[in-house]
Point group: C2
Chain length 203, copies 2
């Protein structure tokens, strides 16, 4: 039994990058998923009321990006020096900003506000980010940073189904280099085996 | 002349943590500040249209948290091992989430939406985060993580005037342990010298 446990909803979303990274490195973990009906009871016990959380050796950590970076160090998918790690961290935070902008629209409860946000998001924000991401993926030969496979690629791939779900379309259908990023990650045997065997969820 | 250059508005806000960290370590940099009137012309040339940017040895990086982490490595204010860095990264991202929630209110252009956001922010979100931050600072002896001085403390101190400006009050006036975090950073001679000599700005 692994001493690593990831606790999250039964979805990919914010936990999947870490799951993919650990599986890539052949590191086993307890994939502890809960249902939405259980969340109200669990939430008060979570750090800052949020998941995923990551447990190891009796210690608990939170924040999905920080957890993914930690997992990346375990499996040697970080940069070769501090500057490379800065470049990786910067694009990961930018991908996460992109997620945040889509989420601000998707989770908006007020229909009027949501409608007002739709145009700017779909006509300005999404094309702006996708164009830059596509160019970065092209410049880095099918990767998001430093011209090789890093956890930035896993971070994007882990989020993509969730992003697509929130916007109701395949964001990268016209982005061949972003498709290459996905292929470069998902074709790795350990990763492919996880994708084929993991719980099937929409997001 | 230093080969490090930080480019940002003439404010503390998202650049100040990195400035404080470099000054702490006695590392000189070009403090390149521009006025709001220049921003429209500069913005298209910035990575993802954002600042601060950090330049060193002819290379450019973006994303304020990533830049601050890089500066922290230079001045040895990171953790002693990967788990400590996970704890530091997690609280930094949580402080940054707190900033994001305040900013979403502060920069809201629609007066009706802004008014609707005011109650939940001031009566729920801010007290929720401050109570937890205060407890963390107490548990860590006047620090934000791993019981000692790290860049997480600098990150909070660097943002605080900006946060206070956005909410129109001193967020930590009733939080003695968060005041201790501020004191622990600002009383360091190199830091104090910078604070006494830097351009005086509200945020």
């Amino acid at each position: 039994m692994s001493d690593i446990k990831i606790t999250y909803f039964n979805v990919k979303a914010l936990a999947e990058a870490t799951r993919l990274l650990l599986k890539y490195g052949g590191i086993d973990f307890v994939d502890n998923r809960f249902e939405h009906s259980e969340w109200a009871e669990l939430k008060p016990n979570m750090p800052f009321g949020q998941v995923p959380i990551y447990e190891e050796n009796g210690k608990t950590a939170h924040q999905s990006v920080a957890i993914a970076r930690y997992a990346a160090k375990k499996v040697n998918l970080v940069g070769d020096d501090d500057w490379e790690n800065l470049e990786i961290d910067a694009i990961v935070d930018t991908i996460n900003d992109f997620r945040g902008k889509i989420a601000a629209y998707n989770y908006e409860q007020d229909p009027a506000i949501k409608e007002a946000r739709k145009g700017p998001l779909f006509q300005e924000t999404i094309p702006y980010y996708l164009e830059k991401f596509e160019q970065i993926a092209k410049d880095n030969n099918g990767h998001f940073a430093v011209g090789k496979l890093t956890w930035a690629d896993f971070f994007f791939v882990g989020l993509l189904d969730y992003l697509n779900h929130m916007v109701g379309k395949n964001l990268i259908e016209d982005s061949p280099n972003l498709q290459k990023v996905v292929e470069n990650v998902t074709s790795i045997p350990n990763v492919k085996a996880w994708i084929d065997s993991r719980p099937q969820t929409d997001l």
